[in-house]
């Protein structure tokens, strides 16, 4: 199997693999993680709000997303979002969303469910006295959240948020179902074109491992540096 291993096919396809494939993967990961954390934080706050309807809505959302396979959600949104867009804008024809936007929306919504659970734990880990102190100084709910509770929660939860982002980095490879070309998709295309499946898939695995392993290592390093002294 390795007797005619061709390192040249990897070398010659590097510009394509990284210039297009990896750029796409990293862009999608970064955007989806940022928006996912923002939306997830909102869901976490809804869930902790103590307002019955709002709490149940948030809880239901998280349960729904966690109970569906990601691929299914990707498909579902790809075919549904154009019609929802049409309905919202009262357009007679489905709105062209584009595969990338559809994928970004899907990953954001899906990951938000997971990020929200992390943020919920983060918010709950802040002693109640902190909220009381912020309130006693005259801060409103939103002021105390924005300046006292969430900054601490983010810092405490940063390692988990980043670890979840590493999972997201791997999950973005599922965009192949929408014919988008991420890093794995690019490697796959070269592999099929040149008949070099072993080389390309092995190389892709090595790259994913190297990136994720390094990232995990850095997350651990970061954790010891940002931890708040109490």
């Amino acid at each position: 199997m390795f007797s005619n291993f061709d390192i040249g096919v990897i070398a010659s396809s590097l510009p394509y693999l990284f210039g297009q494939g990896m750029v796409f993967t990293v862009t999608l990961t970064a955007l989806a993680a940022t928006m996912g954390v923002a939306f997830g934080t909102l869901i976490a706050m809804m869930r902790l709000s103590g307002i019955p309807g709002v709490t149940h809505l948030a809880k239901g959302y998280v349960e729904l997303m966690r109970s569906l396979p990601l691929v299914l959600v990707i498909f579902w949104f790809y075919f549904l979002v154009p019609y929802i867009g049409a309905w919202l804008t009262r357009s007679p024809t489905p709105i062209q969303v584009g595969a990338f936007s559809s994928a970004l929306i899907t990953f954001t919504l899906f990951e938000a469910a997971f990020f929200s659970e992390i943020m919920r734990a983060g918010i709950q880990s802040i002693p109640k006295g902190q909220t009381a102190a912020a309130q006693a100084l005259g801060m409103t709910y939103w002021q105390s959240m924005a300046t006292v509770i969430l900054p601490q929660a983010f810092r405490n939860m940063m390692p988990l948020l980043l670890t979840q982002t590493i999972v997201l980095f791997q999950d973005t490879s599922l965009v192949y179902v929408l014919s988008l070309t991420d890093f794995l998709g690019a490697a796959s295309k070269v592999a099929q074109r040149d008949g070099r499946l072993v080389e390309m898939y092995l190389f892709a695995a090595v790259v994913y491992f190297a990136v994720c392993f390094t990232a995990s290592f850095l997350v651990r390093r970061l954790h010891s540096r940002v931890a708040i002294i109490r």
Partner: protein
């Protein structure tokens, strides 16, 4: 609910180091606040009128009525679980109560039309566990609410913050973080943080209970000075020495009721209730 409790002050390395660190210049002379008339004036600052509170079916406060006049220092004491902390937290609505009314400087606490954040910004509060914001530097702790709540500019807030830090003798620590200070220093910062808002009244909820014994004095010194400057204060504490020194009145609570509400000398001289006598005999023995 997983809450991270504050470690016992002095229990960790950085705290122990900070306690001996140079730059703790002790209390400085000069008023902590612009002094209003230094004695009780007869104008009620806090009027607590028949409040009762239940946790489910358990009654924690029963028909409590008292008041704190402008410029007056009132100490609230009593055995643990007597509801004294709950009572003081009702004053700035950190704890809701079911019946009765509290009026702070003319504003009703339990009223739909009351802007609670605004009311609270005028009532300083100091907590048992300090509750400094651990992710912010000391000076940022002092300026945050000034800027967000009172809308002061960064320069004004910073100046006010540094002035108060100097008053509590902690100027050198402005750029440190709360975790680097000892418990006593943190509590002095917490007092300065509350004063930075120019409160009309200060509430203290067992401010020295979480401190190592050798740090109690420095916090009480700040409070004594504050009282002598004429600040209106309501203080939940077991420090009877503090009560003797600066209190005008002492309120004794037991089982959610105000059992005794007397002038300081009357309270220490001849408490009328048996329960107060019993309590005093226990804590004054040592």
């Amino acid at each position: 609910m997983t809450s991270t409790p504050m470690p016992a002050p002095g229990g960790t390395e950085p705290v122990a180091a900070a306690a001996e660190a140079p730059g703790d210049e002790g209390l400085q002379k000069g008023p902590l606040v612009t002094p209003p008339p230094a004695t009780a004036t007869g104008v009620p600052m806090i009027a607590i009128d028949g409040i009762s509170k239940w946790y489910g079916s358990f009654q924690v406060l029963t028909n409590c009525t008292t008041q704190v006049e402008k410029g007056e220092v009132v100490v609230v004491c009593g055995p643990s679980g007597s509801g004294k902390s709950t009572l003081i937290k009702c004053v700035n609505a950190l704890e809701p109560f079911q019946t009765g009314q509290i009026t702070v400087d003319g504003t009703k606490v339990k009223d739909k039309g009351t802007n609670l954040p605004k009311l609270r910004s005028r009532v300083g509060m100091v907590f048992q566990h300090f509750e400094l914001f651990p992710h912010l530097s000391i000076i940022a702790n002092l300026t945050l609410a000034q800027r967000k709540v009172l809308g002061r500019g960064a320069d004004d807030a910073g100046k006010r913050g540094r002035d108060l830090l100097a008053r509590v003798g902690l100027s050198a620590h402005a750029d440190k973080f709360p975790g680097q200070l000892s418990g006593g220093q943190q509590q002095r910062v917490a007092i300065a943080r509350a004063l930075a808002m120019n409160p009309v009244v200060m509430l203290f909820d067992e401010p020295t209970s979480a401190l190592d014994p050798e740090m109690v004095g420095e916090v009480l010194d700040v409070m004594v000075e504050l009282a002598r400057d004429g600040m209106t204060m309501m203080v939940v504490t077991h420090e009877m020495g503090f009560a003797r020194k600066v209190a005008d009145r002492v309120i004794f609570m037991d089982k959610g009721e105000i059992v005794e509400d007397a002038k300081k000398d009357d309270f220490f001289g001849k408490p009328r209730s048996e329960r107060a006598q019993h309590f005093l005999s226990k804590i004054l023995q040592h």
